[in-house]
Each structure stands twice: as C-alpha cells, then as structure tokens.
C-alpha cells in the first residue's frame, strides 16, 4: 500500500479493532508504531548520518540507513501489517537547531498524514530550554522530548555516578522540571545500568511520565547480562509513572528471531505489565539489522497465545493512550 492508499484505508472507516476481535487474524491487528524516524538527508542535516567517518553504534556499521526514509518507504516495507499510526522520535537532527526537525516533520505530517505524534529534540541543560519547551508544549504534534543523558559503559559505572548532562546533574534537572508545566513526556534512552538514576527521576518528578526507549537496551544476552537487565527493569517498574517501549532488540548478524528475542519480550511484559508496554519498530534504524515486516511478525509470534485484548493494548491502545493519538 502506498501512504495515500494506506491513509485512505484508515479513513474509509474500517474498524480494524472490531475486525481483529472478530477474526483473530494477525494481519488485522491494528498497530500504532510507538517509535520510528523519518529522514531526508538531502534536505536536512543529521550529523550522524551525513558526516564521515560514521560513529560507533551498537548495531555496528550503519551505512545502509544513511539515506532518505519517508512515509512512502515505511509503507512499502511494512508488509501486511496494519500500521495505522506512528510516533516519530527525534532523529539526532542538527543540535544547533532543535526546532528545525519539528518544522520539517510538521510539513511531512500535513502532506502525508504521518506521523501522528512526535517526541522532539531538546537539550535540558541549555539556557534556551524554557522557550523551546514552550513551543513543544503548545504544538499539536509534540508529546514528549528526548535528551539522551550522559552515560558511561557498564565497566565504568559506579552507583554514585554523576556527571554534567546526566540525570543527577542539577542544571539538567532544572530543565527536566519544566516538562510537567508543558505536559511533555520524557523519552529516556539509556543503557539499563543507569536505570537507578531514572527511578530517582521518576520519584522526584511524579507528574512527568518517563518512556523508556528500546527496552533499556539489553545488548548483552549472556545469562548474567540478562539477569542484571531484568533486575534493573524490576526496580524501575515500581515507579508508576514509567512506560516501556519494546523495540531496538535486534542482534547484529542474526535475523530477528523468536528464540532469541522471545524471552526478552516476555520478561519485559511480565515486569511492566500489559498496560505499560508498547511495541515499536525503531525503523529505519533497526533496518541496519532487520526487515520492518520481520520485526512486527516477531512481536506477533511471541504474543500469539495472549488474550486478543492484551495484544491490542501492546500493539495499539497503550501507544494511542500515552501519545494522545
């Protein structure tokens, strides 16, 4: 389906939820993709995609995604999956101009109907954060912001970790404190060993929702690594104002498979519960390793024995609820 046909299909008023509840057919399951990106590298400057040499990345060489990725590309690649809505997360646009990505995405949305919501780039420890958040807070597309906090490798991490730009930095927290006033969520992308800091943040700012990106990045799939990841998630899940996006769990060198990712997905859902998890593609970034259709196929296979209403929650309802779609 092209973007236009796709939007048309949605507008003709097919009630995919009702149809899915009736047929139980995987192809009818409506999806709201909670985490994706669009890029136009000819027109816009994304340092990590446009500059050479490429930067170190958890999936390795990412040359293959240094190209345009627009709604038409998304729908060409998503196979039979009924992705009705998407949430665009900032794509490391030129950090000198955080509002630039919003201007461009607003244009894409008005031309194609996608995305339906956005979490935008913000720098919580910059002096102009108040005026940037004022724009985001009042803009109909923007529901949250992402600022990847300063972090270190697991080896270097100590329990009393604190650095400029980290979740314990005073200036960074002063910016974070403004999110509640503008009713903006915080997209947290950080490795799981930093989640104790996130729990403090969640407690100290109870009216701001934290949306953990990419399952808190369980890259280390050793028995010990996964056990430590689970323990970190369990600790954070005690805070009620935290939501988990299940995405970004590709394993370089392997095609997306249930044997590898099934336990990770099921652990995440067990820990956060079916009301507080959302599936997401992380496309096109996860395209470094996997095909878009394979990712949704995988999530569907893992949850096939779930109650259909819980599948609706994980694939659509929870995302629609927290992003106000």
């Amino acid at each position: 389906m092209t973007t236009r046909e796709h939007a048309a299909a949605e507008m003709t008023g097919i009630d995919w939820r009702a149809r899915f509840m009736q047929t139980g057919c995987d192809d009818d399951l409506p999806i709201a993709d909670a985490h994706q990106h669009f890029f136009d590298i000819g027109r816009n400057y994304y340092p990590w995609l446009c500059d050479r040499p490429l930067k170190p990345f958890r999936y390795g060489d990412y040359e293959r995604i240094c190209r345009n990725f627009l709604p038409a590309d998304y729908f060409e690649q998503c196979g039979p999956h009924k992705v009705l809505k998407t949430v665009l997360i900032e794509g490391e646009w030129d950090p000198r101009d955080p509002l630039g990505e919003l201007r461009w995405v607003d244009e894409v949305a008005s031309q194609t109907g996608f995305p339906h919501a956005m979490s935008a780039q913000a720098w919580l420890d910059r002096d102009d954060i108040a005026s940037v958040l004022a724009v985001y807070g009042a803009h109909p597309l923007v529901k949250g912001i992402r600022h990847k906090p300063a972090a270190v490798t697991r080896d270097a991490y100590r329990d009393d970790f604190r650095a400029p730009g980290s979740m314990r930095d005073t200036k960074w927290r002063d910016g974070y404190a403004l999110l509640a006033r503008h009713d903006l969520m915080f997209e947290l992308q950080v490795f799981w060993w930093h989640l104790a800091e996130a729990a403090e943040l969640a407690r100290d700012f109870p009216s701001t929702r934290i949306v953990v990106n990419h399952t808190a990045l369980p890259s280390d799939r050793s028995v010990e690594g996964l056990a430590a990841w689970r323990a970190a998630l369990e600790r954070l899940a005690r805070e009620p104002n935290v939501h988990l996006k299940i995405s970004g769990i590709c394993v370089p060198g392997e095609r997306w498979n249930v044997a590898r990712n099934g336990p990770v997905v099921l652990d995440a859902i067990r820990i956060f519960g079916v009301e507080r998890c959302s599936f997401a593609s992380n496309y096109p970034v996860d395209g470094i390793v996997d095909r878009l259709a394979d990712i949704f196929d995988g999530f569907k296979a893992i949850t096939r024995s779930f109650d259909p209403r819980d599948r609706l929650r994980l694939f659509y309802d929870n995302t629609a609820r927290i992003y106000g779609l």
């Binding site: 101009d97 509002l99 201007r103 607003d106 244009e107 004022a134 724009v135 009042a138 803009h139 109909p140």
Partner: protein, 316 residues
C-alpha cells in the same frame, strides 16, 4: 552591512551617503502560490485607500528589489498579508523559502487569531520558525468613533481574546497593532495590562482626519498609547482615501509622533506594495529622511534601522 541588492548581485543606485534602511513593514505575495481573498476574490469597496485594483497582482521579492533600487536597504520585516487564514503557516513557510533564496525578509510577523481554541497551537507552529518575531492580529473594531463594540467577541476586551494575547509572552512574540485610530485608547489599556509584551503600532496610528479637530483627537488617542513604554510606532502609510501623498501634511504627523514617542520608539516602514497606491518608494524613504533631518544623523539612523534591529531582534 550588505544591502539586499548586493546580496542578490544587483545594481543599486543609492547615493554614497544614503542612510542604511530596514523596512519594518512590507508585504510580498505570489497569487499563484497562495490564496489572498482580498486580492483575488471579492473586491473590498470600503478599502481604506479606496481603489486598490493596481495592487491586485503579484508582488514578489524581485518586485521589492526593483522598487527599492535607489535605497540602501539592509533588511526587511514582512508583515502578514491577509493570506487565507487556512494558509497561515504556509505563508510563514513560504517567507522562509524566500529568505533562503533572496536573503530577505529578515523577520516575519505572522498571523494568528487570539480568540480561537487552537490559538496556542498556531502560535507554537509559527514560533518554531527561526524568523518569526511577532504576530499581527486585528481585533474586532467598530465602524466609527461614535460606535462601540467593547466587550463583544474578538474585541480587545473579550476574555478569550485576552487569553490568547497573553500567550505572546510565553512564545516571546511581539504584537503588531493595526486598528482604526478611535480604538487606540483601548489598545493602550491592553498595553498597560501586559507590560512585558512589546507592541508595534502600525501606520502611525492612521491619522486619517487631517482637519485641526481631527488631528487634535488623533493626538489625544496617540498620547494614551505613548504613555505605555512597551508601545513602539511604525512611521508608515500616511496615505489618505481621497487625497494625494503630501509632504507637508505628513511631516506634521511625523513630527507629532516623534514628539510623543521619542526617536527611540519610531521605525521607518513602507507598507509596500499597498503604499504604492499613493507614492513611490523613494518618496516615502527620502521624504521621511528629510523630515527627520533637523534631528541629526544619529536620530535618522535610529529610526531608519537601529530601532527595527532591536525591536524585531534581527540578526544580520
């Protein structure tokens, strides 16, 4: 400071000692790109300058460069041109594309309604563009001084209108004020209620009635505005409905405004192409320079570009 003509590789015929100039109020329109109902559809018989058929055609950046070829224009401020209110954001987008290609306009005053449910959304969309500095929004006004609409929907007393107006402070946007002169005292009340919102009065407060009594009344209204330190004035559009542009008559207006507001709060503006119905660009710019000459070069420079640089925070 490069002139617009230098930036575009064009000849410029300004004399060597010409004042650098920022046009603090002009319009551009491309009628095949956007929809401008007042220029393309129903003709307004009650237009404030009378017959305006002559401007119901494209006026693009090339036209602006042509009419200003005798002036040393270093920057401009575009004010919303009553493009279809369904195309408010599209107008802002288009002006940013014009800026990329021609190096001007250098600030954008966009349109938003203050009394709507989506006012905050529209302001946020405008504020996400780097050149947007202010909003022009005309409140509901009455047909004449003897008639009051005070408190009606969309007026300067409407609580919904005032709520939307208050948002300007959050987005750090100024307000371009354009009302018939008998509404200026009400505008002064708004200015007093929001001392941190900066206001640019358009067209010297429209001194339409040039009789002695008319001028006395206009002065009384203007003094109320001048008493509010957050109000600035554009020295522009002295055009009258049934009269030609007269230097002496307009000099009196300029002297009065400068006396009331001081040179620190006055800005040169052309209101082109609308003002072309009465005067050439050179008549406006050279005329004002001459009117201000007795105050000295420094005062001229403030009015011709320094005040606009500050008010609209123009980065050259």
């Amino acid at each position: 400071m490069l002139t617009l003509h230098e930036r575009n590789g064009l000849d410029n015929h300004a004399p060597g000692d010409a004042l650098p100039l920022i046009d603090a109020h002009h319009h551009l329109w491309n009628l095949s790109e956007g929809r401008y109902p007042w220029l393309q559809e129903a003709y307004h018989e009650d237009f404030f300058l009378g017959d305006y058929h002559a401007i119901r055609r494209d006026f693009g950046p090339g036209d602006f460069l042509r009419v200003t070829s005798n002036q040393r224009v270093i920057g401009t401020v575009h004010v919303e041109a009553e493009r279809s209110r369904n195309e408010q954001i599209a107008e802002t987008q288009w002006l940013h594309r014009v800026h990329e290609r021609f190096g001007f306009p250098n600030a954008v005053v966009a349109h938003a309604w203050f009394d709507r449910d989506d006012t905050a959304h529209v302001l946020a969309r405008h504020a996400s563009f780097p050149l947007v500095r202010g909003i022009r929004s005309k409140p509901v006004t009455s047909a004449g001084p003897g008639e009051s609409v005070s408190g009606q929907r969309g007026t300067m007393q409407d609580p919904a209108w005032l709520d939307g107006f208050a948002l300007l402070e959050r987005f750090d946007l100024s307000w371009d004020l354009r009302v018939p002169p008998w509404h200026l005292p009400e505008a002064a009340e708004v200015a007093a209620a929001f001392p941190r919102i900066r206001i640019a009065l358009n067209h010297a407060g429209f001194a339409w009635d040039r009789s002695d009594a008319g001028l006395r009344r206009w002065r009384g209204w203007m003094e109320k505005l001048a008493a509010q330190p957050n109000v600035h004035v554009k020295l522009s559009e002295f055009g009258l409905k049934d009269e030609p542009w007269r230097y002496e008559s307009n000099r009196v207006i300029v002297e009065d405004v400068v006396a009331m507001f001081g040179v620190g709060r006055c800005m040169f503006a052309s209101n082109y192409p609308v003002a072309s119905l009465r005067a050439s660009y050179d008549t406006l710019a050279d005329g004002l320079a001459r009117m201000l000459a007795p105050l000295g070069r420094e005062a001229q420079e403030r009015v011709f570009y320094r005040n606009a640089l500050d008010f609209y925070r123009i980065r050259m």
